[in-house]
């Protein structure tokens, strides 16, 4: 895991070193002279070896000194202050919604496989999977924001003002992210359970007089849930990335908006930092999925 993290941070760092364009020309603006640029480059340490700078940046990153934003002239950690919380809360809400919807639904559909409910839901699932989250966000803005006036489009309450108000403004963005993902997880769980139903141990369980429901609950679920756990971990990573777009739809001041603004301004220290943070979350979630999988199925040993 540590090797992967180092590799990703090195790639993210190098990627932004080969970008054409010199940050000093933007920083100096009209005061640009070659001498001043040279002095500034020296001051910023840009004239040193790439790997020395990577090491400095990495040690800084780990100790909480994340570099200075070109655009705002202050520490990246200051620029990001409060924004991480918005993205984290939004992603977590969306993820919990995915689990809360898809786990019971997937199990129910598998239990009544081939029934009317199952057939309707499977067809609807296909459609929901095809809806891009940002379009769902726009639909929600129109229906719940403009027509039903349940929230003010573009509005936002900071968690310091009112924590519940803050969460309230995240409900619809979270739903917009969660619904397509929930459709995917439901589908996976359903087909995973149905796939297990043909196994020998299921026949044995039936022959001991279990009903379909008690076979699923007592025997199948533990086996069927393994691929879903891995997928859920990947889903959280996707959700964090997906919130970049949905934050834009609902004008939420989170990391995603900051990332987009920083890409527009070529504010690379900020971009680099956000990318590495999200990468770390992704790698960590995958690791966590391995641990949970191992806990559910003790036969699996981590290499």
């Amino acid at each position: 895991m540590v090797v992967t993290l180092l590799l990703i941070s090195l790639l993210a760092f190098l990627a932004f070193q080969i970008v054409p364009g010199d940050p000093t020309s933007k920083l100096l603006g009209n005061d640009y002279t070659p001498e001043r640029a040279q002095a500034l480059r020296h001051e910023m340490g840009l004239d040193r070896n790439v790997f020395v700078r990577y090491w400095d940046w990495l040690t800084g990153f780990v100790t909480g000194d994340m570099g200075v934003s070109y655009n705002y002239g202050m520490g990246v950690d200051k620029v990001m202050e409060g924004k991480g919380a918005v993205t984290a809360a939004l992603s977590l809400m969306a993820w919990l919604t995915v689990i809360a919807v898809s786990v019971p639904l997937g199990i129910t559909l598998a239990r009544f496989q081939g029934g009317r409910l199952d057939r309707v839901c499977v067809a609807m699932n296909q459609v929901f999977m095809a809806i891009p989250p940002f379009f769902l966000g726009i639909l929600f803005t129109y229906v719940f924001g403009l027509v039903l006036k349940l929230f003010v489009p573009g509005g936002f309450i900071s968690p310091k003002e009112s924590f519940w108000g803050f969460l309230g403004y995240l409900i619809f963005p979270a739903l917009a992210i969660a619904i397509p993902k929930a459709a995917m997880v439901t589908k996976l769980l359903r087909s995973s359970i149905i796939g297990q139903m043909g196994q020998d141990y299921v026949r044995t369980a039936y022959s001991r007089g279990n009903s379909r429901w008690s076979v699923i609950r007592g025997h199948v679920l533990r086996n069927a849930v393994l691929p879903v756990v891995t997928f859920l971990a990947m889903t959280l990573a996707d959700i964090v990335a997906g919130s970049i777009i949905v934050e834009q739809v609902f004008a939420l001041p989170g990391l995603g908006r900051l990332l987009l603004a920083s890409i527009g301004n070529r504010d690379y220290p900020v971009v680099q930092c956000i990318v590495v943070i999200i990468a770390f979350i992704v790698v960590f979630m995958n690791y966590l999925a391995d641990v949970v999988t191992q806990y559910i199925d003790p036969r699996i040993r981590l290499g």
Binding site: T4, L7, I8, A12, A15, F16, I18, V19, Q126, V127, M129, A130, I131, P132, F134, F135, I138, L139, T141, Y142, L146, P153, M234, A237, D238, V240, A241, G242, I244, I245, Q248, V249, L259, L260, I263, G264, R266, Y268, V271, V275, I278, A279, V282, V283, N286
Partner: protein, 268 residues
């Protein structure tokens, strides 16, 4: 033909064929000129003369959606083509020859695959800049790993089969075996991968253009239209609905096709 009894494939084929037909017709004829402004017909709700209504400049939305769908589809096709060709070469060579290069590339592949694609696309766009051709390049690069992985796995499986051994006995060279003998045999596995590639490419293009880091005006695309439409959500909701419905139909069609093909060939 088992395909005929495959509901996913049938539904996907119908939807995709419909969208492609609309796009093809749009190349030569649209109800109105997509860019013609009509001051006397601003923000009209859907009606017989304008089935999807008009926008803030009095432009016919149906015509614009058709044009945007064509642009989105072309970008997706170019993206998939880059990913597929590079993936075929990389995956084919690494799967056939193996060795340390294979190890290295697959490690890199794993690292990239674990990454959310939106984030990678944004990083590439931050590096390249935005615009129609840059987004094709960025998304194309992004799609290489997934194709390379599919091709590599299948080539590695096929190369131990008897027909490869017999071709080798007949004196065929490595490149001949790889591209003339093995390649046609991996097509059944490639088809669903291509369909899912289109699915992802349409979504990625629409997302990037919606964020205004993809296609820039005056180039059209469905994502850009949604971005514009959001500003007129209250006065002209049909604008967003028309563009959004076109995106959903494209994604749904390719998604169903991929599933139909995948179910057919036992691959996922």
């Amino acid at each position: 033909m088992k395909l005929r009894h495959n509901k996913n494939f049938t539904a996907g084929a119908i939807i995709t064929a419909f969208m492609l037909a609309v796009i093809l017709i749009g190349l030569v004829w649209t109800p109105y000129d997509p860019n013609a402004m009509d001051g006397s017909a601003k923000m009209l709700s859907p009606r017989l003369s304008h089935p999807l209504g008009t926008d803030n400049f009095g432009r016919d939305i149906l015509s614009r959606v058709i044009e945007g769908a064509g642009a989105t589809f072309l970008i997706a096709a170019a993206t998939v083509a880059i990913g597929l060709i590079a993936g075929l070469v990389l995956g084919g060579l690494t799967g056939y020859f193996g060795g340390w290069l294979d190890e290295c590339l697959m490690r890199l592949n794993d690292a990239l695959a674990a990454f959310p694609s939106i984030l990678l696309a944004l990083v590439l766009i931050a590096l390249f800049g935005s615009g129609k051709y840059k987004i094709i390049l960025a998304l194309g690069l992004l799609f290489i790993p997934s194709f390379a992985r599919v091709v590599r796995a299948e080539v590695a499986r096929q190369k131990s089969l008897d027909y490869v051994a017999s071709a080798r006995l007949m004196g065929a060279g490595h490149m001949r075996i790889l591209f003339l003998h093995i390649l046609p045999n991996i097509i059944p596995v490639l088809l669903p991968a291509v369909a899912i590639g289109f699915n992802n490419a349409v979504l990625a293009e629409a997302s990037m253009s919606y964020l205004s880091v993809g296609v820039q005006p005056p180039d059209a695309s469905l994502g850009r239209m949604l971005n514009e439409a959001q500003g007129y959500l209250l006065s002209a909701p049909w604008y967003a609905l028309g563009a959004g419905a076109a995106i959903i139909l494209l994604i749904l069609g390719f998604g169903l096709l991929s599933e139909g093909l995948g179910g057919e060939h036992g691959a996922s």
